[in-house]
Symmetry: C2
Subunit: 335 residues, 2 copies
Amino acid sequence: MAKAEAAKEIRRKQLIDATMRAIGRYGYASLTLTHVAGEAGLSPGIVNFYFKSKDQLLIATLENIAEEYSTLWQGAIARGKVSPAAGLEAMIEADFHAFVCNAEKVSVWYAFWAEARNNANYQSLVMRLEEEYLKETEQLCARIVAEGAYEGIDAHQAAVGLNAMIDGLWFDCLMSPAKFDRQAAKRTCLAYLSAVFPAHFGAAAATKRGKGELDANIAMAIDQDVQGRDAHRARLAAALRKRLEPVGPMRREVLAAASGVSVKVLESWLEGRAEPTSWQMGRLIVAVDAQLWMEVYGPVHEEAHRLFEAKLAQQRDFAEREQASLNALSGKPKD
Amino acid sequence: MAKAEAAKEIRRKQLIDATMRAIGRYGYASLTLTHVAGEAGLSPGIVNFYFKSKDQLLIATLENIAEEYSTLWQGAIARGKVSPAAGLEAMIEADFHAFVCNAEKVSVWYAFWAEARNNANYQSLVMRLEEEYLKETEQLCARIVAEGAYEGIDAHQAAVGLNAMIDGLWFDCLMSPAKFDRQAAKRTCLAYLSAVFPAHFGAAAATKRGKGELDANIAMAIDQDVQGRDAHRARLAAALRKRLEPVGPMRREVLAAASGVSVKVLESWLEGRAEPTSWQMGRLIVAVDAQLWMEVYGPVHEEAHRLFEAKLAQQRDFAEREQASLNALSGKPKD
DNA sequence: CAGCATGTTAAATGGACGTTTAATGCTGCA
DNA sequence: TGCAGCATTAAACGTCCATTTAACATGCTG
C-alpha cells in the first residue's frame, strides 16, 4: 500500500534526523539506538522496525546528509551559472551556508569521514561525492583560466586547493563553533580565489560587476532552498487545493488514486502536515499538469525547466513503450 | 625503582604504537583492547596493567601523536628560521612528510578530531595544538607582509587559509592514500602562497634564491629528525661510551646512579637497544656535561642552545632552593 | 461491535567488551 | 637450585547494547 509507504518514509526521515542530532550530541563512537530513539521521542526497539539494523540506519543517514549537501551546492551552482566566477562564488556561498556549515552537520561529516576508511559503504559514497564536487570546481576553474589573463595556473591544482581549504575551514567550525565566523570563512576562500584569479575575483573585478549584490542574490536564493521546507509545503498545498476546488476538474479520490496514495495521505499534503516523496510528486505532476511543478518549486531558470521537460518526455516515452510491449505480450502470450 | 620505570615506559610506548596501528586498521569506533593487544602481540588484559583504562590509553595515544607532530613542525620551522618564507616552506615540508602524512597517522588524527566534540580531554588538546600552529603560521605571514610589497593582505586570513588547506589536503590522503601525491600537495600549498605572496614565493623569487636547494635541505633535515631514531640512539650510545672509556672519568655504576637507573638499563642504552626518557636524559646531561646534548642532538642553531642553557640554570636554581628549604625544615621541624 | 492489520512499546536475549582477579611463567638474586 | 617479586596471561565477571519477541494500543474494515 502506497499509503503505508508514505507514512513509513516520514518515520524513517524522523529517525534519520534524530540520528544526526544524536551524532552531534554524543559522537559516532558512543552512539546507541537508545540515544537515537530518545532524540526522536520514540522507544529504542522501533529503530529496528524501520531499519533492518543500526548499520542500515547509519548508511541511510549518510546518504541523507550527502544528498542534502549535493542538492544545495548543485542548486547554488546552477543559479550562479551565468559565469564560472559566479559559479565558484555560489559554491562557496553554499558551503558556508548555515544549513550545512554548523556544528551538528559538520560533526556528522567528520564522524563519517573518520569511519570511511574502515567501512566500504561510507567510503564509496564519500569518495564519489568528493569527486563530483572536485570535478565541478575544476571545470569552473578551467573555464576561468580559458577566459584568459592567467599563465601557469593549473586549474586542477586551484580546484584541489579550494576544496581542501573549504574542508579545512569546516574543521574550524567543528572545533570552535562559537568562535567560527562563516562570513570570514567565505572571505578567506574569496581571498584565495582573488589571489589566484585576480582578474576575476580581485578588487577591480568586484567593483566592476557589483559583487555585493550578486552575493546577496545567491545567498537569498540558497536561503529559499534551505529554510523553505515549510514554504514548499505551503506552495504544494496551495497548488493542489487550487486543482481541487469545488468547481475544479478533479476530485480528491481521483488525485489520490493517480498519485497512488490514500485520500488520508493526500489530505495531509493539503494541510501541509506532510509532503509526497519525489516519486509521488512525479506521479502527481503527470496526473495533473506540468504547471504544478512551476507553482510548487517556484520560479526557476530556463535550463532546469528544459531539463524537466526532457525528463517528462522521456518518462512518457518509457510509459508508452511499456504499454506497447504489454500489448504485444497480451497479443502473443509467451510460449 | 627507576629501572622498572624505564621498562614500563617502553611497554607503554609499544601499546601506544599498537593503538595507532589499530585505529588505522579498525577505526576508532570499533577499536577494542583485543585489537590493540593483538597489534602489540600481547594479551588483552595487559592494557589495563599499563594504563588505568581504555580512555587513558587513548588519551596517551593522542598526546603521543600530538607531541610527535609538534616536535616535527617546530623543528622544521627552526631550521627554516633564516627567513619567514623559508619558515613557511619548512612547515609545509613537515606537514607533508611521509612520517606524519600517511594513511595511518591521518586516520588517527581524523578519529580524534571527530571525537573531540564529545570528549573534553581530546578537545582541549586538539584546540591548543591548532592554536599554536596557527599562531606560528600567522607570525610568519605577518613578517612576510611586513617585509613589504603587499597591500590589503591580511596575515591572519592568509594563515587561516593555509592551515585549512593543509588539513583539507590531509583529507585527500585519508580518503585515497594510494592516489595521494605528497609532492603535489606541497606544490598546491606553495601555489597558494605564491598567489598570495608573489614577491616571496613567485617564480621570480624561487629562481632568485635557488628554491630547489632550500627545499632539499629542509627535507633532508626533517628526514634526519624523523627516520633518525636509530641514528639518534647510535649517537647517544657513542657519546656515552666515549665518557665511559677505560681512561675516561666515569664508571658505569656512577653514571647509572646519577641518571637514576640500573646498570642494566644503562647498558641497553649503550648498545642502542633502548633510549632514556627525556627526564632521564636531563639527569644524564646534568650528571655528565652539557656538551653531551650537542653530541646527541646534533648541530643546532643558537637559540635552542641558549634556551637549553637557560632551562638548565633554572633547573639548578630550583634544585638549590629545594635543598635550601629542606635544610630549613630540618632546622626547625614543624610544630 | 468483532476481527484484523499496523504502529509502538517494554522486556527478554545473547553477544561483545572493558575490567578484575587468580593463576602462571619468568627473571634476577642469593 | 630455590625463592621472591614482577610481568603476563587466561578466565571470570558484570555491564552495556543491538536485536528479537511478545504484548499492547490504535485505527480501519466488514
